[in-house]
Amino acid sequence: MRDAFIEQLTYLAEKDPKIILLTGDLGYGVLTNFAERFPDQYINVGVAEQNMSGLACGLALEGYKVYTYSIANFTTLRCLEQIRNDICYHNANVTLVSVGAGFSYGQLGVSHFATEDLAILRALPNMSVIAPSDPWEAQILINQMDKIEGPKYLRIDKGDGGSPVSPDDVILGEGRVIMDGSDITLISIGAILSESLKAAKLLLDNGINARVISLNSLKPIDKDIIFKAAKETAGIICIEEHVKIGGLTGAVAEILTTESIFPGFLKSISLPDEYPTIVGDQDFLRNYYGLCAENIVNNAKSLLKKY
């Protein structure tokens, strides 16, 4: 997905000299081609993310479309106040790009787990929060994001959601029904869709028709697709590579309860309110925390029995 991002940004930058990419000294081998092709549209600002965010704001207020690039929490939490006071309050046209959603850098340790970002960034006024499921979807979303003014967060995953390519179905802020079904709904955001899809196929083998929804954006969020799922299926399971607090589950619960629409059940398959003390690759850590098809299937079966 990282390569898809830079490929798309290269395409956009070629046509738009107002695009500037700032990196906090990361992107070895990824940004090289961009840097060589667009020397006036690329700055390695050094390992200084607070300054990078302030610079991005200053450049954006002077008419540039600025992308800040780094990994894990470095473009987000490290410089959160610059994002809040400078970028968001001034509604500056800056896209924060973080490579390494969830456990993408699972072996690197807790500093590199981006597992609270959705909740934190979602709380900022003016900020859009976007997490593509697949590289091909990321490219389409990046095109659409480029046309929108204001602060945006792009969460880039190492994984691949595995949804079939269907470009016409991708609209920023609108969820996609990847598999239709009427028994239960599985909603995910980002590349963890792959586990949701695997689970749906296993459920089908058990005679259960799961509706699989992939959201590309947590803010704005597609209310209608969630309301419909709550009304038309027995209940909802939210699957996210993120802590339970404030992310996908939180957003879905907020909009359902504040509209007084109550599904039969709302289950969260997400990370607990604790820091992992072990490392491992993305699949290992997903499995360790139950972010896997098997756990989704088990939950789906028992919830359908209960409600």
Binding site: Q50, N51, G54, L55
Partner: protein
């Protein structure tokens, strides 16, 4: 786009009027930071009164010089200066700190013509100013970017990221101005987190460094004129200032970082400042 017609050489009269507004505003609002505002009244009066290209009738004119108050807690000084120059009606100053007002204690651009950027948390303004300076370089635009920082604010590490960046990128269209009154929130700067040797730090970081009496208008003007377009370097103007300058009993006192002038203290401050205004008006009319 012009340099202000009403003041020009009379920037000390502008400063005196700005000081009186600051005392009135902090009195009416019951607000803090009167000393911080008084400290930079001369710097802002020289910048807005003679140095910067501005247009009060068209605050977002593309050729304007950009000004960022990074020490946002001295916002009253910016509001007062802008109103004196006609960016908005002086009556609006009475809303400072009041319920429903846009004139917040820390400077905000929303609903206030002429404010370039909103601050309040320290250590933000210089990075944004550097971004604006880089943008001007990329676009070959001639305008300058001025950012006023407090001395205590230089404790913030983010400033030093911006200081590294600005010299590396040869942003000679950027002028950082330090209000070096040597008193920060709770104590002196040297007792808190020593800044000295302060000028040497900027020299080591590759900046053009000027030191000046931050209340001497002639010297400030000379420095500002020398500051811009220094070959391939950003400039820092270390302004030696007095916190609370202009009101005898507020000068050099930590107390007036927080205390709001009320009762006899307010009357006394007002009297001192009005006498200064009357004196200067008489001088200029003579």
């Amino acid at each position: 786009m012009f340099k202000h017609q009403d003041y020009g050489v009379k920037t000390n009269l502008l400063a005196a009027r700005v000081r009186k507004h600051i005392v009135d505003m902090t009195h009416l609002g019951g607000s803090s930071h009167v000393g911080s505002g008084l400290s930079i009244a001369d710097i802002l009066s020289v910048l807005y009164g003679e140095i910067m290209m501005i247009d009060p009738k068209n605050p977002s004119h593309k050729d304007r010089d950009r000004f960022i108050l990074s020490k946002g807690h001295a916002g009253a000084c910016v509001y007062a200066t802008l109103s004196e120059l006609g960016f908005f009606d002086k009556e609006m100053l009475k809303g400072h700190y009041q319920n429903g007002s846009t004139l917040s204690g820390h400077v905000s651009h929303k609903g206030v013509p002429g404010v370039e950027f909103s601050t309040g948390s320290l250590g933000h303004g210089l990075s944004v100013a550097a971004g604006m300076a880089k943008a001007a370089k990329l676009k070959n635009e001639e305008h300058k970017i001025f950012a006023v920082l407090s001395d205590g604010e230089c404790d913030e590490g983010s400033n030093w990221e911006a200081i590294l960046f600005s010299s590396h990128h040869k942003l000679n269209n950027l002028v950082a101005i330090i209000d070096y009154n040597k008193i920060q929130s709770l104590d002196s700067t040297e007792n808190t987190l020593a800044l000295e040797p302060f000028a040497d730090k900027f020299v080591a970081f590759g900046w053009n460094v000027l030191e000046v009496d931050g209340h001497n208008h002639d010297d400030l003007k000379k420095c500002f004129k020398n500051a811009v377009n220094e070959a391939n370097k950003p400039t820092v103007l270390i302004c030696h200032t007095t916190k609370g300058k202009g009101v005898s009993f507020m000068e050099n006192s930590v107390l007036w970082h927080y205390r709001s002038p009320q009762g006899d203290e307010y009357n006394l401050a007002k009297k001192e400042l009005q006498e200064k205004i009357d004196y200067l008006e008489e001088q200029y009319n003579a």
